[in-house]
């Protein structure tokens, strides 16, 4: 046993006391500490724990000594001045600020002390809060990195993006000449260009820019120079390399300036290397551009309103805003639409306006909605966690009513008591927050690993001081939320209430009401989350069940690169025909077809193709139908196993006139409304230079093709024979049906193509089946996250119901026992208790469904095949919530109903 006598002597300092008196006090205290120590050992604590526990009994010896000294003064002041709390003493002896500080420190100590006494309560609270705060912090750090953090440019808010992926050079040049809102305005055409010279031909991401592009983003050269005005004349021949490209391709050769690089068969002079700190907007969203070329926007080859290539960025003048620039731009377009209607107006819709948005908003696009929805979801989750903890606090508050009452009786002011309860909840909340931050570290990591690949700027996500500040702020806010109710209650509490509201049978009705309200709120919030998750799950299963309109089994797509100078149309035709023959002769290949694209070559909004819009229906009336013209060979439909009515191409169709075409069922319905389009003759404009009108005969109608994503409709498409129209288009892909294991065939396919053209980059070879699965990763990612949050919410709400009912029946035990003793049978009792749970659950469900009705509309862009108020989802989810709530309250009800009445009464 430690020497407590010595311990007391070392710490106790009683001023101006007679030695004998001091000796007696020290002796008595030492004995008391011995008692506490012995008792702690008897409780099962280890020697060290017991010693620590004993020492903690007198945490502040200085204060304690002062209290004792005062008590020894033989004055007869009113008894009342003796305070239970040492901090009350401080109240008199210290200044206002240090008094508050002392109070605070005391309260925090008190919290940790009570945490030691009731570890279960503390642990559960910290776990629940940690879960809520952790989830919220994780999603916030993603939102912060993607949506909130400034882009790495000077005054990024002044950079505007022209909302449309690409514009023609004539349109851009007109804007640039007329607009006065922009300091600088530039366009860039980012495309893959073949570079020859390495082991294998490689494709470079090349950015062909008009003047001012680098200036908008503040790029600097690490070596050499950036572009000068004279570089932007005629075809693009001057190049600036990205720093990474220079390292990778030229081993950081310092003598690179002035040498040349061969792109698409043309030598371009390297004039400079970009500084490593520069990241272009393309680089921020994933693929950094490797090579930059200076391009004259008036270069004849591209001077055509139909060439949609330029992404346009502008830096707004410092004194202007984006909305102001938008107003000016609209005015300019209004005038231009009259002056140059071919460039700036649509025949029917009038002026072709363009929306300006800030670069960051434009870059984050669809992700913005999804992420903000996730943030909303986790905030709901946090709300449920807070309600849960508030309920725990209330339950404990009832247990502590005596303690608080005595404290009040001792003279602690109401404000003081409320402050103490708030400090307690804040301390707990911050502990929960600390745990939450640990969870968030894991969460962010998981988010990065699971990222479906479409979240831009994801590398900027980090748990940094901004995120920590956020975590601290929401922790305190949560603490305030769940601590406020008990604190307010404490502030209203009075001594007579304490004395008369007998602890065991007291029925403070509004406390019950508050608890019910909290549980109801938990159910409502959980239901909102569940509804959202239910809608996403429902639409995901629908999306998954969509039939793509073809059978992807054993199909391989190969995107050919035939857009360079090396491939005039005759060579394209020759290459494709030769490849077709050679591949088909291989035993592992069952068939080969060609089209300008293959289904799922890309998916979502992006698609490459050839658009035409002027048609003449069979009656020769003009029709404007935006249609993809998609040359394909005869086997294209056979290999796909497409749902084709009529026939596919046959020998002779390669040169036939009227041109035989196969059309999508959507186009057929549009061109021949109300009757069968099969066999009809229609006319298309502008098919070839000098040919004003081409006669087309519909020989087949293909139905239900979802070539660009399962969520995309069946596109308006006209398929002419590839031999007639394919080669004039720089796009071509092979569709290959393989026998057996497609994985083994890929290399054979590559080698065959390379034996024809060793310089052909083959970066886009894929299995159709795999591509379709990949196209589902984004919706799967978001619906999985939503479901995870919703399940957590459901569990928390169930826990809340369980705890509340347990408490409620606990307090009604006497009543229930008497009923039991008087002959009520179990099922009657359970029904009685369950009726109350049902009432709470029903109220929560109704409130939640109403909330969901208003909130699910934000899911609009994420659901597929159902509305955001899908009644089936709403009803199923409401039923699930009700059943879970009833199940959660069943156990307490059953326990109460089967309780031995005699024992309950004895306990009373």
């Amino acid at each position: 046993m430690p020497d407590w006598r010595k311990y007391v002597h070392e710490h106790l300092t009683l001023a101006s006391l007679e030695g004998l008196r001091e000796e007696r006090i020290a002796e008595e205290l030492a004995l008391q500490l011995e008692d506490i120590y012995t008792e702690a050992l008897a409780r099962g604590l280890s020697a060290e724990e017991a010693e620590e526990w004993t020492r903690s009994q007198i945490p502040d010896w200085e204060m304690f000594s002062r209290l004792l000294s005062r008590a020894e003064r033989k004055n007869r002041r009113p008894v009342a001045e003796i305070m239970m709390e040492s901090s009350e003493e401080t109240l008199r002896t210290r200044g206002r600020v240090s008094r508050l500080l002392a109070d605070l420190l005391h309260d925090i100590r008190h919290t940790f002390r009570s945490a030691r006494i009731r570890p279960a309560f503390w642990i559960i609270t910290v776990l629940i809060l940690g879960l809520g705060i952790g989830a919220t912090t994780t999603i916030f750090s993603v939102v912060d990195g993607v949506l909130l953090k400034e882009l790495p440019y000077h005054e990024p808010g002044k950079i505007a993006f022209f909302e449309h992926p690409a514009f023609s050079p004539p349109r851009f040049v007109d804007w640039k000449e007329q607009s006065t809102s922009f300091e600088r305005l530039a366009g860039v055409w980012t495309t893959e260009i073949v570079c020859i010279g390495g082991d294998r031909p490689a494709e470079f991401s090349t950015g062909m820019m008009t003047p001012d592009f680098f200036e908008i983003f503040g790029a600097r050269a690490a070596l050499g120079r950036l572009f000068l005005p004279e570089d932007f004349a005629g075809p693009p021949t001057r190049a600036v390399l990205g720093y990474g490209t220079w390292q990778r391709l030229f081993g950081s050769d310092p003598d690179i300036i002035g040498r040349s690089i061969t792109l698409n068969g043309i030598d371009r002079e390297i004039v400079g290397i970009l500084d490593p700190s520069f990241t272009s907007p393309q680089g921020l969203t994933g693929g950094e551009t490797d090579v930059w070329l200076a391009m004259d926007p008036r270069w004849g080859a591209l001077w055509d309103p139909g060439v949609l290539i330029l992404a346009v960025y502008g830096r707004i003048k410092p004194e202007l805003t984006i909305p102001a620039a938008q107003i000016e731009l609209n005015r300019i377009i209004d005038v231009l639409a009259v002056e140059k209607p071919a460039v700036h107006a649509d025949p029917e819709d009038g002026p072709r306006y363009v929306a300006l948005s800030s670069l960051q908003v434009a870059m984050t696009g669809d992700t913005r909605t999804s992420l903000l929805l996730l943030l909303g979801a986790v905030i709901l989750l946090l709300g449920i966690a807070a309600a849960n903890v508030a309920n725990l606090f209330l339950a404990r508050g009832l247990d502590r009513i005596g303690e608080v009452g005595v404290r009040a009786a001792m003279g602690a002011s109401r404000g003081r008591i409320a402050a103490q309860l708030l400090t307690e909840s804040a301390t707990l909340a911050l502990s929960g927050g600390a745990f939450g931050v640990i969870l968030a570290f894991a969460g962010v990591r998981a988010f990065e690993i699971l990222n479906p690949g479409n979240i831009p700027l994801i590398e900027r996500i980090a748990i940094d001081w901004r995120v920590l500040l956020f975590a601290a702020a929401i922790s305190l806010l949560t603490g305030l939320l769940f601590g406020l109710a008990p604190a307010l209650r404490a502030a209203r509490l009075d001594i007579s209430g304490m004395m008369n509201d007998s602890l065991r049978t007291g029925s403070t009705k509004d406390r019950d009401r508050l608890r019910t309200l909290l549980v109801g709120a938990e159910i409502a919030l959980a239901l909102i989350l569940l509804t959202g998750a239910g809608l996403l799950f429902n639409s995901f299963t629908r999306l998954q069940a969509v039939h793509p309109g073809f059978d992807p089994d054993g199909l391989v797509g190969v995107e050919l690169n035939i857009n360079g100078l090396a491939y005039p149309p005759e060579r394209r035709l020759a290459l494709v025909q030769r490849l077709d023959q050679r591949l088909e002769s291989l035993p592992e290949i069952a068939g080969v077809a060609t089209g300008i694209t293959i289904p799922f070559q890309s998916w979502g909004g992006r698609r490459r193709g050839w658009l035409r819009w002027d048609w003449k229906a069979p009656e020769r009336e003009d029709r404007e139908i935006w249609t993809m013209v998609h040359p394909a060979t005869a086997d294209y439909f056979t290999l796909l196993g497409a749902d084709l009515r009529g026939r596919t191409f046959q020998p002779g169709d390669e040169t036939a006139y009227p041109v035989p075409v196969i059309v999508s069922e959507t186009f057929a319905a549009e061109i021949c409304p109300g009757r069968d389009a099969l066999g009809q003759t229609i006319w298309g404009y502008d098919w070839r230079p000098g040919v004003p009108e081409t006669e087309l005969r519909i020989i087949g109608i293909v139905s239900g093709m979802h070539a660009w994503g399962l969520d995309q409709g069946s596109e308006m498409t006209v398929f002419p024979p590839w031999e007639q129209y394919g080669p004039e288009n720089p796009l071509a892909s092979l569709l290959i049906k393989v026998n057996g294991d497609p994985g083994a065939v890929i290399d054979t396919i590559r080698e065959t193509i390379w034996s024809e053209d060793p310089d052909m980059p083959l970066d886009n070879i894929y299995f159709l089946e795999q591509r379709i699965a990949e196209s589902l990763t984004v919706p799967r990612f978001f619906s999985t996250l939503f479901i995870a949050f919703a399940v957590t919410a459901l569990l928390l709400a169930a826990g809340g119901v369980y705890a509340a009912m347990l408490y409620s029946v606990g307090r009604r035990r006497r009543e229930l026992s008497i009923r039991n003793a008087l002959g009520a049978d179990r099922s009657q009792l359970i029904r009685m208790i369950q009726k109350r749970s049902l009432a709470i659950a029903a109220t929560g469900v109704i409130a939640g469904a109403t909330g969901a009705w208003f909130l699910t509309r934000f899911l609009e862009s994420m659901v597929f095949g159902i509305t955001t108020t899908d009644p089936v989802t709403f009803v199923l989810v409401a039923l699930l919530m009700t059943v879970v709530a009833l199940a959660a309250s069943f156990l307490p009800a059953w326990k109460a109903a089967t309780h031995d009445p005699m024992e309950a009464l004895r306990r009373e």
């Binding site: 009994q57 009342a80 003796i82 239970m84 003279g411």
Partner: protein, 110 residues
């Protein structure tokens, strides 16, 4: 009329009540109050002893060291005459106070 200090006197009132029947030592007093309040009121050393010494100095209670065979030496406190008088007075005041408050706020006993 009740003195505003009245509520604050309850610690002394509790100690006096606990000592009414028999002398007890400090640890015992704290424990007893804790038990009787169903664990709601916990006296830490730091709160208890200043109260005890003050009451002793006022002459309401008196401490005496007692040594018994097989039991440790302890300081037992007992009520003085003055203490008994104070207890009776304080009790009356307390009952009157709670009765009056009950009347005012009309709490029914469960």
């Amino acid at each position: 009329m009740f003195s505003p200090e009245l509520k604050k006197g309850s610690v002394e009132l509790m100690v006096l009540s606990v000592l009414k029947d028999e002398p007890r030592h400090g640890y015992d007093i704290g424990k007893l109050i804790e038990t009787r309040s169903g664990g709601q009121i916990q006296f830490h050393i730091t709160s208890l002893y200043p109260v005890l010494y003050r009451m002793e100095n006022r002459g309401w209670i008196t401490g005496r060291w007692v040594e018994k065979e097989g039991v440790r030496r302890r300081c037992y406190y007992s009520l003085t005459k003055e203490g008994a008088r104070v207890l009776a007075g304080e009790r009356k005041k307390w009952q009157a106070f709670t009765a009056a408050v009950n009347e005012v706020i009309g709490i029914s006993h469960a």
